[in-house]
Symmetry: C2
Subunit: 421 residues, 2 copies
């Protein structure tokens, strides 16, 4: 089967919307999805009649376990008025809605459908930390959990391997954290929209008011290095290296390429889509890379005819600070061992040559797992259309963006490349 | 979007395999899947190198809840040697692997892949009845469960509505049960392979041996009408109207139409695929039909250019005896109210003009929910290729078969039409 791959017809994004990400203990995730859907409708420049949607693909990971509700597809289809159109749930742990996006693309490329809604949602904050840990552990390879690995543990081990191999250290992780918070500060939909500086000042202010000893941090790194302010979770993963528990929903509207201009003045064309699967930690020759990400990237680059250097901006799966660095390398943006240096040099910042996670990423925008894949697309949609407001990157002729989503301990990875024409 | 739909390229089945269905408390469902995969490989007439498989689609409903394992796609991909190829889990309750089949078809039709494995599996018997009931309830619309409906309750209400509308009665349901057991008797993979006659005789024999009063049933219907032998579950659903709790796995190998003869002497071409979604019971104008089945059927008929009368043999979703009757009508095989009469007249029997569920159906072959969709395909594969052994139907020029799968209380329905050329 070694032929060059090609989709039967092109697919474009003509609308994108998300709920705010955060902890909404009083909100059912169904209604977060409705919020995302309504926002999406408002972004379709030339308007759309929802009755023209042919099918729904919906990513979700934990509803069975956290909400005791499976079979979410038809429930959401009914809520937004799509019944009796087909509604399919996809699950690939934290990459669940990236799979929904991909199946939506394939359904249109196949010729069967002209317009597909792809999205996802997750409701996590109503469960306590122990339950959430237990639920998320279902994304790992079974023995990993039995061996005592939680997700911070897996990524802690990954970071340790990376440190050993490339002489990186915790300070390099802090660069990622500081950047994520700076970006999220400019994103009103983000769960944490304070910079590390803001957080420091807030804590200092609070100590003053309470008459407690006022902490003396000279800069953000001193704050992040203070074990009281930033306790260890699984070394070297500290609190501010880890993404939060979140609720949220997101969705995008896909149409066949030839219909894109009917609905949008400025559609994004999906020129590359890739997906790979990965084995457990035991089978990895190198702990500091993800086989599935590499496979997904290769597939998407081949399909698009593009190279890593053509991608001008990307959202990558930074469930932990170290993950962002590793994916920068696995996606070919920087050479192996070059990821942490690129971050250090500011290349991945808002004003850098390759801005990464301008939304704040999973770390600060939030990570309602089933909503993350299509949630990432929304940032690329805004940036490529010049609608990212205060966090708009200053790249002239911004045309190519990409999203990378990872599920579990690397079991599922996807990579999607978008082009504005 | 009112254009005639067409797939970009055709798709064919070139291999099909399943584990035995039953209760295997000592077996992990992963290994049941491996069993199905190995059997599938042996059915590819001209052989296949599994390394040529481009992607895996995997249906599963309850692993999160029953096995505490989500993200099953990459686990199975690793087990059968497919890593790093993409592996996507689909979930539509009891229709989960029919969704996997459909996504596999679309992935090939899109031009992206040439060869896809689609299958599913479920592991149910290790949980007690209460847990299984709770798990399966996650497939229903939330308020249905809160209102006290379990699945036998939903289908009991459905049967009551059907009885009232068409003057059918319990005896008509018994005809379905008797037929299912007669067919399953000839299926070595079936969970229950005794006819109702066999079961009666077994019970009589047992009573004799124990010196207990010997039951006197003059025929199968008297046995099924005896509340001691066939107790009520949710009127009019009695024990022998309900499918069992099962473990099992199944899979089929799909290739692009132009490659079909490279791998198979006798491939089945997928000429129609349809899927629909349904609302909860509250929103049904008529309890005795399934909107989602009708939508799925219409889509598949349109795509194939075929009519219900062209379908010569079918496996339909008989989770309960009444479901088989209703689907015969919703799929257009018989007119509304004509389903129970067709069964009574023997038209749906092994030697009838429209044999239905020659495998024994969910009722007797078993219903490991995530394995059922692709499991149904295996029966059509065998029958259309003339490989169904003792249960081969005596229709000359048997060319067109179909499978119908339902999830939840009708939330997801699929219909697929296969042609031997």
């Amino acid at each position: 089967m070694q032929k060059p791959r090609k989709l039967g017809r092109g697919v474009a994004v003509v609308g994108a919307g998300m709920s705010r990400f955060g902890m909404f203990k009083d909100k059912d995730s169904k209604y977060l999805f409705a919020e995302a859907f309504n926002e999406m409708l408002a972004t379709v420049d030339r308007g759309v009649d929802p009755r023209d949607i042919d099918a729904l693909y919906l990513g979700n990971f934990t509803n069975d376990f956290f909400v005791r509700q499976g079979h979410w597809g038809p429930i959401i289809a009914d809520l937004i008025g799509l019944t009796p159109k087909p509604a399919t749930r996809t699950e690939g742990a934290c990459a669940s809605s990236a799979l929904a996006l991909r199946e939506g693309v394939l359904a249109i490329a196949s010729g069967l459908y002209d317009m597909v809604l792809a999205g996802g949602g997750e409701e996590m904050s109503k469960r306590n930390t122990e339950e959430v840990t237990q639920g998320l552990a279902m994304a790992a390879i079974p023995y990993e959990v039995r061996a005592g690995f939680t997700f911070p543990g897996v990524f802690g081990a990954t970071a340790t391997a990376y440190f050993a191999r490339y002489r990186a250290n915790r300070e390099h992780l802090m660069n990622v954290t500081i950047k994520s918070h700076n970006n999220a500060r400019l994103n009103p939909k983000a769960q944490f929209n304070l910079s590390i500086h803001d957080i420091m000042n807030q804590k200092i202010e609070r100590a003053r008011k309470k008459g407690e000893p006022v902490p003396e941090w000279s800069d953000e790194k001193e704050f992040l290095g203070d074990p009281k302010a930033n306790p260890v979770v699984a070394w070297p993963m500290h609190l501010y290296d880890c993404c939060p528990i979140s609720d949220g929903a997101s969705c995008v509207l896909l149409v066949a390429e030839e219909l894109a201009r009917t609905f949008s003045n400025n559609p994004l064309y999906i020129v590359g889509t890739g997906q790979g699967s990965g084995k457990g930690l035991h089978a990895k020759e190198d702990l500091s890379c993800f086989e599935a990400t590499r496979y997904a990237a290769q597939e998407a680059y081949e399909l698009s005819g593009l190279k890593p250097e053509d991608v001008q901006i990307a959202e990558v799966h930074d469930c932990f600070s170290i993950a962002e660095i590793l994916h920068l390398e696995d996606l070919g943006f920087f050479r192996p061992g070059g990821g942490y240096k690129a971050v250090e040099q500011g290349l991945t910042g808002l004003n850098g040559s390759k801005p990464i996670n301008t939304s704040g990423g999973l770390k600060c925008k939030g990570h309602p797992v089933g909503a993350t894949g299509t949630g990432q697309v929304i940032e690329i949609w805004k940036q490529l259309r010049g609608e990212a407001g205060d966090r708009q990157v200053p790249i002239s002729d911004l045309r190519i963006g990409a999203t990378h989503n990872l599920g579990g301990t690397g079991g599922t990875c996807t990579f999607t490349i978008f082009e504005r024409r």
